[in-house]
Symmetry: C2
Subunit: 199 residues, 2 copies
Amino acid sequence: MSTTVITYNRGMSRWEPNARSRLEQAALDLYRERGFDQTTVAEIAQRAGLTERTFFRYFVDKREMLFWGQEILRELYMRTIAAMPGSAAPIDMVAAALEASVPVFNDRREIVRQRQAVIAANPGLQERELLKRAALASAMSDALRQRGVPDPIASLTANVGVLAFTTAFVRWVNAPDEYDLSQLIREALDQLKVITAGT
Amino acid sequence: MSTTVITYNRGMSRWEPNARSRLEQAALDLYRERGFDQTTVAEIAQRAGLTERTFFRYFVDKREMLFWGQEILRELYMRTIAAMPGSAAPIDMVAAALEASVPVFNDRREIVRQRQAVIAANPGLQERELLKRAALASAMSDALRQRGVPDPIASLTANVGVLAFTTAFVRWVNAPDEYDLSQLIREALDQLKVITAGT
């Protein structure tokens, strides 16, 4: 019989309360004050009262820390589409996936708003945001294909979903207490229906 | 009365027949043989039998030479949308703009096919391609707004257009003699109509 001993170096990996959100808020404050390019990881860690080592336990670098939501959304989309009834139309599967992501934004509206202002001020970050959207569209396409939706319908539907979400998000993010994100998504999907139907 | 004298240094800017297309073909050959990252402007110029100086008279750098079509498409889209009858639906304005661009691709199908293969092999170039699409969607949005189409309809319609074109292009580019690009664009727009209409 053996006992598993977990060696634990308190100095290196001691638990810091809310380290992730403290780092995130410190970074957003610095990006706004000095600009994204002028801010270093050392400064972010210092402002948060943490070490650089702790920063790198949570984030790859100062750019990627703005985009960790991508992985959360990807998993949420995949899981929601996988759980939809087989009788659902592809666009309804995508609408459900977008709807499932709404609490992620509502729960963090102030951070999301600040993050968006940082991205809007930096072309390199806007490029990264385009990559995020493309990756999420690609994830939803995969999920739809796994549900038997053929191409190009899978890819078109996923991209329509990302387009509707982006349009809704842009309206919501500047006045998150005024608008309902779910409703804006439904409105964008309805507008896409009217637009593509033509005259 | 005065005479305008144009000084002209023959050594520096002598005319080279088809310099642009010779450079383009040389670059595509080298990108395919060695990879995009491993190819220098000096090598491209040498392969084309021209100087680096001539290269830079036509292109900003070895990346941008793959994307000069963006400006041509932008102007074509703007001009076509500006010339549409005011009674046309926004989606029909966008469809006409895309249709107007088809000859640009048909006339250069072999170069376009090779270019696409280079982009598909390089993540950095794929990012640049996403930027190109975003810029073209933004140009079409502007053109629609100038025709009195309000937001978010202008932006949604422009993005639907870029999505339809991209979907059609991906099918066309691998077998440009087999498919008709115009027809593929119309098919994608029809599919978007069915998709957004839902169940």
